[in-house]
Amino acid sequence: MAEDAFVISASMIPFGKYRSSSYVGLAVSPLIDALQRAGVQKSDVDAVYVGHSYGGMMTGQRITKEIGLGTVPTVNVDNACSSGATAVHEAATAIAQGLIDVAVVIGVEKLTQFGGGTLPLSPEDREVRQGIVMPAVYAMRATRYLYENDATVEDLALVSVKARRHGALNPFAQFRKEVTVEEVLAARPVADPLTLLMCCPTGDGAAVVVLASERARNRLGAGKSARVAASVLHSGQVAEGYRDMTKPEITYQSVRDAYAEAGIEPWDLDMIEFHDAFSIAELVYYEAFGLTEKQSAVSLLRDGRTTFGGDVVVNPSGGLLAKGHPVGASGVAQVAEAFWQVTGQAGARQIPDARWAATHVTGGGTAGLDHGACTVHIFEAA
């Protein structure tokens, strides 16, 4: 990046079901809190980026007008589950290019508006018309993964057990109750081999982060921050024929570019928040993040190397499986977790001396693509 960008504050509501809150109702409190914690006045804000997928027209402006934050550009971003992270990417890029000094990023989604069930996908898509749903995509990934690797359904359950254990420590998590391998395996089947407890929940949420240039950070007297060491966005590339669903190329590309931009190696990371929408994803992404050179994904998990006390804590927040996954909000919530960890504000789930943190979120079920979008960020304590 040409100029450094820093996350200087983060706020969010606990993810959950808020049927009596609108998109505005979900987002305004964390917006006010994030500005206050950053010591940022409305007049300091140069631009607002808002990630959401189902908020409808002018979601961002509907939120910001409630606090009279207008005039400056407000950009509404839709990249499905990657919407919030794409908004962070746009903000970080604008600061890195020297175009702006202070950006507010809002991620917000209200999935309870759909009354339950799987995520609504575009009926213009051929496979959606054939009846594809996101759990089926990940379930096929899981079936193939178990077929090709020395992994079992118990390993898929173990991912959920770890996520719930982490979520139990996180006051922002939708699920704060621990589960056992037996409970995960005995849960209602959703898409074999995935049970309900191997799937992220439906919920609502909002998260807000404030980004600033070095200039603005100094001027505002911001305290501990997270330097944006890498901000990468890739789109999926169509495959009309064979595709290896266990090696999602869009994540491999994004991770490779992010490590190069940050100048670090996989094991330099103290934590990663990645896109564990379904438990199989965690195993697939250990490899994509370069953690499996010496040890297989399942042995990393079984040996506890990716939980608290291990080498790199994966999804310290509980991840999408336990913290929840209001799609447009998730990418911003991951950045909030990274910010809190590298600035020592993570309470019971604090990773000691956390310096390097990565976040990863993919987006979209689209025929022929692995995912539509993938965003990876790396942050350093600053």
Partner: protein, 130 residues
């Protein structure tokens, strides 16, 4: 003096007109594919442009009735019967999402499969002798 040509008019593609994946061909009912005359890529469905070389010189072709099951799942959606779906890699390296049925041969990755019909519905099932 050079004359700048008038800006050409782009036309919309009527892709909703015929989005049925099943078509009638001389060899019988087959999944509909599209082959590019310029680069030879074959794609699923009725398409008007090649996603590899962007040629518009493409034609409608029948896709093979046989292939290999890449992966599958049984979906348990609320209020619906359990439904098996999977990705089938057809013999010409086109992947299609498909409903699956099984009789004596169980579904598993890499099992050879063939196209079957039930009235207007189509599905893939493990091939006889698989």
């Amino acid at each position: 003096m050079s004359v700048t040509p008038e800006a050409p008019v782009s036309v919309p593609i009527a892709d909703l007109e015929n989005d049925d994946l099943l078509g009638a061909f001389p060899e019988g009912r087959r999944l509909v594919g599209t082959r590019c005359a310029d680069c030879g890529q074959t794609m699923i469905g009725d398409r008007v442009v090649c996603s590899a070389c962007v040629s518009r010189d493409v034609s409608r072709v029948p896709l093979p009735a046989t292939g290999v099951l890449y992966s599958f799942t049984r979906l348990h959606l609320k209020g619906e019967a359990v439904r098996a779906v999977g990705y089938v890699d057809l013999d010409d390296n086109v992947r299609t999402l498909a409903d699956l049925r099984e009789d004596s041969i169980p579904l598993r990755p890499d099992v050879p499969v063939e196209l079957g019909f039930d009235g207007d519905d189509w599905f893939f099932t493990p091939a006889t002798g698989a």
